[in-house]
């Protein structure tokens, strides 16, 4: 991994996430990802869209610092990703990934507990995070007592509780039913508007990516590379948008790009 020192003027720009020539290779399984370049502006909402196993989750985990890239350069919020402490990043996994032995409150408080914040200070922030996802009354509940959608909300609250600059979501709503998914999509957009965080959303759903994000990055499979970028330039995102011709057109465009990206794998 190439480490490059950046002067503060370089990172004072609006780039929240910057990947340059990032690759990930696994022993015996060849190159899974890249090389890929990616720039995400501060406050931007982008989606990584690609077929299953295209390395989009790998890319997200590299940004989070959960796995190290084989080569390339990763910058998140002006810092090298290998030096990340969780403060700057919130991560939501595909499953809720809650501790079954702990109450909702304790689950949401976990990131604060781990960074040594006193219970008194933490409690206010936990209340705040729970209120944001509409679960104020469920603090004492245990994860198994909640529905799938509610568990995902707890997971979201936990990611928000550190007030991170960047929110990374790895197919968070893939396992939910459609009604719940639509509702959480809207809630996520509301959160994004009110908090102004940078969001990277990984999904294999064309419709979800177009509905949510300002920019869709379509990825090829094995190795995962950026194939196309689609800017979704619309003002309001609500049920009207979801049923509009404009939305359908964007979806067709994204579907075509996704089909091309999948074919490229077959050719190579």
């Amino acid at each position: 991994m190439v480490l490059t020192a950046h002067t503060s003027s370089e990172i004072a720009g609006d780039s929240a996430i910057r990947l340059r020539g990032v690759t990930k290779a696994y022993d015996g399984r060849g190159v899974a990802l890249g090389p890929i370049d990616l720039d995400v502006q501060r406050g931007e909402f982008i989606s990584l869209l690609g077929p299953s196993g295209c390395g989009k989750s790998t890319a997200l985990r590299i940004v989070a610092g959960l796995i190290a890239p084989t080569s390339g350069e990763v910058n998140v919020a002006g810092r090298d990703a290998s030096a990340q402490t969780g403060r700057a990043i919130g991560f939501v996994f595909q499953e809720p990934t809650l501790m079954p032995w702990a109450s909702v409150r304790d689950n949401v408080r976990l990131p604060l507990t781990l960074s040594g914040i006193s219970r008194f200070d933490a409690d206010r922030r936990v209340d705040d995070a729970l209120a944001r996802v509409g679960l104020s009354e469920f603090g004492a509940a245990f994860p198994r007592e909640l529905s799938g959608g509610m568990k995902m909300r707890v997971s979201l609250a936990r990611a928000l509780v550190t007030e991170p600059d960047v929110l990374l979501l790895d197919e968070p709503f893939a396992a939910l039913d459609e009604i719940t998914r639509f509702r959480l999509n809207n809630d996520l957009l509301t959160l994004w508007h009110s908090l102004g965080k940078t969001i990277v959303f990984v999904t294999h759903s064309v419709f979800e990516s177009v509905y949510l994000s300002q920019r869709v990055v379509v990825m090829t499979a094995r190795p995962g590379r950026s194939h196309a970028e689609i800017k979704i330039d619309v003002a309001g995102r609500d049920e009207n948008f979801r049923t509009s011709a404009e939305y359908a057109a964007y979806c067709r465009q994204a579907s075509l790009a996704l089909a091309q990206a999948s074919d490229m794998k077959a050719v190579s």
Binding site: G86, F93, M99, W101, L114
Partner: protein, 274 residues
């Protein structure tokens, strides 16, 4: 009339559950005791071959002072062995989870201790250790392995994504242990402890019998051996009865502790959905 009938019908599901779980075992117990009594009285079996249930009960009451103090001795040994097994098993599992090298170096010896029959080790331990220590050591040897292997399994069963989350938030080794690994391993450890409770009683009894043949001791197992030499068969039965009851009580106590600790979150402790 019809009102009474429906009331009775409504009462059926509840009483059926009570019957099958509580009443049924006692009916079986009463029937077997009666059958035992019949066999002894009809065949005129002398008490030094097979004493009847009434005689056993009588002996239990008559010899209560001796049997009670012996029971306390055995239970104390069992308890010490169990505590040693719990502490030793969990501590070893934690050490193994922190260092693969240590696990590779020591695990074979833990297995050897486990597979060597304790009845064969007990006489040796009695030579080298003071008697009470040797007896506790025997209880420990039999009981610690299920705690060790179950806790190890639990520590290795941590959810990968949760482990990733702890890494993401920069958790220290201690924090990961305290907030993630130990709670995740708890149901497994409790399962191991439940087995260890019964096993430490077995270990204590085996060691007492070995020690008893060496000529001293006062536990229940020693009473059984001693009564055997004297052909005091009713007392053997009474002591055996006390041992079984002790084993059942130990198991139930540990099951209760396990239930209380897990009831809010673990599948094993939850009621079946109706």
């Amino acid at each position: 009339m019809s009102g009474v009938a429906t009331d009775a019908a409504r009462g059926v599901p509840l009483s059926r559950g009570v019957i099958s779980r509580i009443v049924l075992p006692f009916v079986v117990l009463a029937l077997s005791i009666f059958a035992w009594h019949l066999v002894v009285s009809v065949n005129n079996i002398p008490p030094y071959v097979l004493p009847g249930p009434a005689l056993v009960a009588e002996t239990l009451i008559q010899d209560w002072p001796i049997l009670w103090s012996s029971l306390l001795t055995t239970l104390l040994t069992t308890f010490e062995g169990f505590i040693a097994a719990a502490v030793g098993g969990i501590a070893l599992a934690l050490l193994f989870s922190q260092s693969k090298w240590l696990e590779r170096a020591l695990l074979p010896y833990a297995v050897i201790l486990q597979v060597t029959p304790v009845i064969a080790i007990a006489p040796l331990l009695l030579i080298y250790l003071p008697q009470q220590t040797a007896v506790v050591a025997c209880a420990w040897i039999v009981a610690f392995f299920p705690v060790l292997s179950n806790t190890t399994l639990g520590l290795n069963s941590v959810d990968r994504n949760l482990a990733g989350l702890f890494k993401l938030y920069g958790a220290s080794r201690w924090q990961t242990l305290r907030y993630l690994k130990l709670p995740a391993a708890l149901p497994y450890t409790l399962g191991g402890l439940r087995i260890a409770g019964g096993l430490s009683l077995i270990g204590a009894v085996v060691a007492e019998i070995a020690a008893g043949s060496a000529g001293s001791g006062s536990g229940l197992a020693y009473r059984i051996a001693e009564s055997g030499y004297r052909l005091n068969i009713p007392r053997m039965f009474a002591a055996l009865l006390l041992l079984s009851v002790a084993g059942v009580v130990i198991y139930m106590a540990l099951a209760l502790v396990s239930h209380l600790l897990l009831r809010r979150w673990h599948e094993s402790a939850l009621r079946k959905e109706s």
